[in-house]
Amino acid sequence: MNNVFVYCEVEDGVVAEVSQELLTKGRSLANQLKCKLEAVVIGKGLDGVENQIFPYGADVVHIADDPRLEPFTTLPHATILIKLFDKEKPQIALMGATPIGRDLGPRVSSALHSGLTADCTSLEIGPHEDKKEGKTYENLLYQIRPAFGGNIIATIINPDCRPQMATVREGVMKKEILNPEYKGKVRKLDIAQFVSDEDFVVSVIERHMEKKKVNIKGAPIIVAGGYGVGSKENFKLLYELAEVLGGEVGASRAAVDSGYVEHERQIGQTGVTVRPKLYIACGISGQVQHRAGMEESAQIISINTDPDAPINSIADYVIHGDVGEVIPKMIRFYKSNTK
């Protein structure tokens, strides 16, 4: 009762990275709250899946294993979580802000009449005073996220309803193995007690998933382009620089929305969060949602014709110039200085 729960996404027997990141965060929250960390996995072919979860510090792993439960459709996963949460009464429930989490989370929170905050960039524990009602709350989950076009950071709380639910994007939290030998309990759920035929009315007819072609999250150097790059053609320069430096190409949402580069490369609150040792921002203005995805980079260079671009204020080097002029020079001088 009253523990921290993390819904773990699984596909082909592999637990998603974002879920492991949330397990790490969940462990930290559970330590602060002096309660347990529990995980829920729903899918098929899940023998031994707990071995991908226990090392992150989960005390209990609830497993629902049935061929009908994968690929994901909303109703059976929702019904299982709703009934499980109704019984276990978690104080906090976390899920990845993925197409699954953003489909499932609201359905579950609606059924439980609990609050849900999407795309949190930070989670903390703290008190709250409701002066109007004269009530004080201890140990609430602060669900922190940018809002209103990124011009404000909001701290959201659910004082009264449970569980306090939040979704978090991949890469926002860091995953860290607590102890490779950590072992908890496995609870295999009896599916028949949870779902009925009505839960399986939606069927997946066809699926074409591609393995990720790029791994931006792990790249030590990122050359990222924004709306200021101007075109898909112009992005070629960034690819050249990235190749020469041994890095990857990233992009702001504006560049992706304008069709200059594919969505996989998007960095920011609604894309990937990165922490490279060098981030070269080319023609990126740097709205809060973009900065949320890269501000922890060790070194930041900003190339921009706008001296007031917000990104300049978090950069270590600011080059007031045109991307098309500056990048060829960078390539030239990198080559000449590394001969």
Partner: protein, 291 residues
């Protein structure tokens, strides 16, 4: 196949996509008045999917439903100019302060007053909240299945809809029974533009409240042209428990809002000239950042 009865959920939102310096006031707070109010972009994608079904299946009707202040009637008109049949504005002070749960409760209760529905289509998310929660929450409250991240409605008949979903790593084709809730991405087809004939027909479409503020000249129109009446629903028109509405019906509360203030770092400012760039690369190589 007889036509489908479709409700499109839409929201009027401040245009947060291009928040420039004008949007912030001198004291660092957001100047909401400076942002124009627009039809939420993904709701337009939703409307287009609905209108395509209407094109394909005669007898299909498309009704817009929006919850908002009086001026949100503007997006009902925008829907009418593009081919929607009618619209409902759900408006009442009682809804003020609603989070997504209280909003979806009010919308679900309003939908129950709009007759039998086959399909509810909404944009995946709104650009002010970006939560993507209302669609699935409305589905849960109505007890309908849901399919999110829809890029295209591939097929439909009296009993089922087949939809193509665009997910992060690929696509999926899904078949679901009616009645159903779909949420549509911005990777879906853009919405058709206003139709000139429909614009002329509906430009005087107004809610009751709007008519009360309008000039006398056009009031005669509303008796002879009933299609110009935009239905307005208030809390009295829906069966709703007061404690599930507005602030009291909202489990989530905003504890704190901080304006984003950029702390200037001590940055080295360089010119785009050979000398500066050469020195930069030398410095980065020396510090083992690159090379």
């Amino acid at each position: 196949m007889k036509g489908l009865k479709i409700i499109v959920l839409a929201k009027q939102v401040p245009d947060t996509r291009n928040v420039g310096k004008d949007a912030m006031k001198a004291d660092g707070t957001v100047n909401r008045a400076a942002l124009p109010a627009i039809f939420n972009p993904e709701d337009l994608n939703a409307l287009e999917q609905a209108l395509r079904l209407k094109d394909r299946y005669p007898g299909t009707t498309v009704s817009l439903l929006t919850m908002g202040p009086g001026r949100a009637a503007e997006i009902i008109r925008e829907g009418l100019y593009r081919g929607a049949d009618d619209g409902v504005l759900l408006t009442d002070r009682a809804f003020a302060g609603s989070d997504t749960l209280a909003t979806s409760y009010a919308l679900a209760q309003a939908i129950k007053e709009m007759g039998e529905v086959d399909l509810i289509i909404a944009g995946r998310q709104a650009i002010d909240g970006d939560t993507a929660q209302v669609g699935p929450q409305v589905a849960e409250k109505l007890g309908f299945p849901q399919v999110t991240y829809v890029e295209k409605i591939v097929d439909a008949d009296d009993k089922y809809v087949t939809a193509l979903r665009r997910l992060e790593n690929g696509v999926e084709t899904v078949k679901a029974p009616l009645p159903l809730v779909l949420t549509v991405n911005n990777s879906a087809a853009p919405c058709r533009t206003r139709n000139a004939t429909l614009l002329m027909k509906y430009k005087h479409a107004r809610t009751v409240s709007e008519r009360q503020e309008a000039s006398e000249d056009y009031l005669y129109l509303y008796d002879s042209r009933p299609y110009l009446n935009i239905r307005e629903m208030t809390v009295n028109d829906i069966q709703a428990e007061p404690e599930q509405l507005g602030l009291s019906g909202s489990p989530t509360k905003v504890k704190k809002i901080e304006n984003v203030v950029l702390q200037a770092k001590d940055a080295k400012v360089l010119k785009p000239v050979d000398n500066d760039i050469d020195l930069l690369m030398k410095e980065l190589i020396l510090s083992h950042t690159i090379g």
